[in-house]
């Protein structure tokens, strides 16, 4: 569904993405992991067209995303740090997003909006929100349009344990509907029951992209964190 072909991107001297090629299919739930500054967010932003790669192509479905925008109606994106206009209230932001994407045939999915009880504080201004509440707004906006691809950049960072579990349950539910889900996270333990594939990046390079079951068999571990620790030590030795 998403194909990345030889994508490179540098910010000045820093090579954020170095000739990355991979492909993701429908029904997969992919964990995008790697140390800080390994290019995960840049990769995600390239898929969304927020960052323009220096070279290489990204195909969504069969179309190149360069100079194209319609494909974004099929993506729900939750940013790492959600930044919203300070003066708008939660209700206004949600209303505006729905207004902008109104002509889409896809149905509206307000489940998360209600689970997080955002409807009870929709009069609050974005400026006054805590980091966690902001994350909740980001999450409910990502799921709002029932998009077939979900891209979640550190979804649970800053969420309290209850909200974190609620979000995980929602991700699991969407996964069962056969959506493509891309998650980055540093907390590997919470990805355990979600992911089917692992992409590991380091210094802008793709180190591995494999099925989780293969990896488990290869390393003889059952927990993702153990699997990764095993692989990384094998890599460095």
């Amino acid at each position: 569904m998403i194909q990345i072909q030889g994508v490179s991107k540098s910010f000045g001297k820093l090579k954020a993405l170095d000739n990355i090629s991979l492909s993701c299919e429908k029904g997969q739930c992919i964990a995008l992991i790697g140390p800080n500054g390994s290019g995960k967010t840049t990769l995600i932003k390239s898929i969304l067209g927020m960052v323009v790669p220096d070279s290489g192509n990204i195909l969504f479905g069969t179309a190149n995303i360069k100079q194209s925008w319609e494909y974004r109606s099929r993506i729900g994106y939750m940013p790492q740090i959600g930044r919203y206009p300070d003066n708008m209230t939660i209700g206004q932001v949600c209303h505006m997003m729905r207004d902008i994407r109104k002509n889409e045939a896809a149905s509206i999915d307000e489940e998360l909006y209600h689970t997080f009880e955002l409807d009870k504080m929709q009069g609050k201004r974005m400026r006054t929100l805590s980091g966690g509440t902001r994350q909740k707004v980001s999450a409910s906006l990502a799921f709002l349009f029932n998009a077939e691809v979900l891209i979640l950049d550190e979804p649970t960072a800053g969420l309290d344990p209850v909200a974190s579990e609620q979000l995980k349950a929602k991700i699991l539910k969407e996964k069962q509907k056969g959506k493509l889900i891309l998650i980055t996270s540093h907390i590997l333990s919470e990805l355990d029951d979600l992911v089917t594939q692992v992409i590991y990046m380091q210094d802008g390079k793709l180190v591995l992209h494999k099925n989780i079951d293969d990896l488990k068999a290869q390393t003889g571990q059952t927990k993702l964190s153990k699997v990764m620790a095993n692989l990384i030590t094998a890599e460095t030795e």
Binding site: K45, M50, W69, R72, P79, R83, Y84, P85, I100, R101
Partner: protein, 255 residues
């Protein structure tokens, strides 16, 4: 696209600065016309104020607004919208609200005291200047991530167009005073939208008789219908070129 224009315009009109700007223009135009019993003289004074204040407010307000909008832009860019539309909607929203503020602030009193074509021309000039300096501000901000640097750029640009450019022209005139400079001056004046607007309005006032030979040459050209169209076209070019450049840059920007 219309939806974004709507959100931007509402957001700006709710901003108190625009309200102050309107009130300020209202007070200035009211006091100028009530001090002077000769409305042509009032028009001249008002013109000088407009040529200074309108570009300044337009460029500074737009620059700061675009920076404050960065979250909004980020939010919109990952939605199914053309980047070009987002940028042009911001431009349209800013232009619309600043023109509206100008027309409310100066328009009513100006048209009551001086309901002539010159008065209308001054209003058109003010609107064009607002739009031009929104476009210039957007060009100044698009490649600059640092807010302080961007605002500094905007202030320098205003200083250049409002003050430094005239100094340079004067310097040139004195250096080459032995040569006939009337024709080149017309081309040079097109390089500054503020100067161009000033000439356009001045030539329709009686004071233009005091401008000597250069004034006569200017009147020969800008005073005609053809010259007027050329000068308006030049002003429109001052909108189109910066806007086109900044849109192209925004399209390639990393956010």
């Amino acid at each position: 696209m219309n939806k974004i224009i709507k959100y931007v315009t509402i957001d700006i009109l709710r901003n108190k600065i625009v309200l102050f700007y309107t009130l300020f223009l209202l007070i200035i135009s009211f006091s100028i016309f009530s001090f002077d019993d000769n409305s042509a003289k009032g028009l001249l004074s008002l013109m000088n104020v407009i040529l200074l204040i309108v570009p300044l407010v337009s460029i500074i307000f737009s620059t700061i607004y675009i920076y404050n909008c960065s979250e909004f832009i980020e939010l919109l860019v990952c939605q199914p919208l053309r980047r070009k539309y987002i940028w042009l909607s911001l431009f349209t929203g800013l232009s619309l609200s600043l023109c509206l503020a100008f027309l409310l602030g100066c328009g009513i009193i100006l048209l009551i005291n001086e309901p002539s074509t010159t008065g209308l021309l001054l209003l058109l000039t003010g609107c064009l200047l607002s739009v031009i300096f929104v476009a210039i501000a957007m060009l100044a901000t698009v490649g600059t991530r640092d807010k302080a640097k961007g605002i500094g750029k905007a202030i320098l640009l205003w200083l250049y167009f409002g003050i430094i450019f005239d100094g340079l022209v004067l310097f040139l005139l004195f250096q080459f005073s032995e040569y006939p400079l009337e024709k080149p001056m017309m081309v040079i004046s097109a390089l500054n939208p503020i100067d161009l607007s000033r000439i356009n309005v001045l030539l329709r006032l009686d004071v233009s008789a005091l401008m000597g030979y250069t004034g006569a040459v200017f009147k020969d050209f800008f005073g005609t219908g053809f010259g007027f169209i050329i000068s308006i076209a030049a002003l429109l070019l001052w909108v189109a070129l910066p806007l086109w450049r900044s849109t192209a840059k925004f399209n390639r920007n990393d956010l």
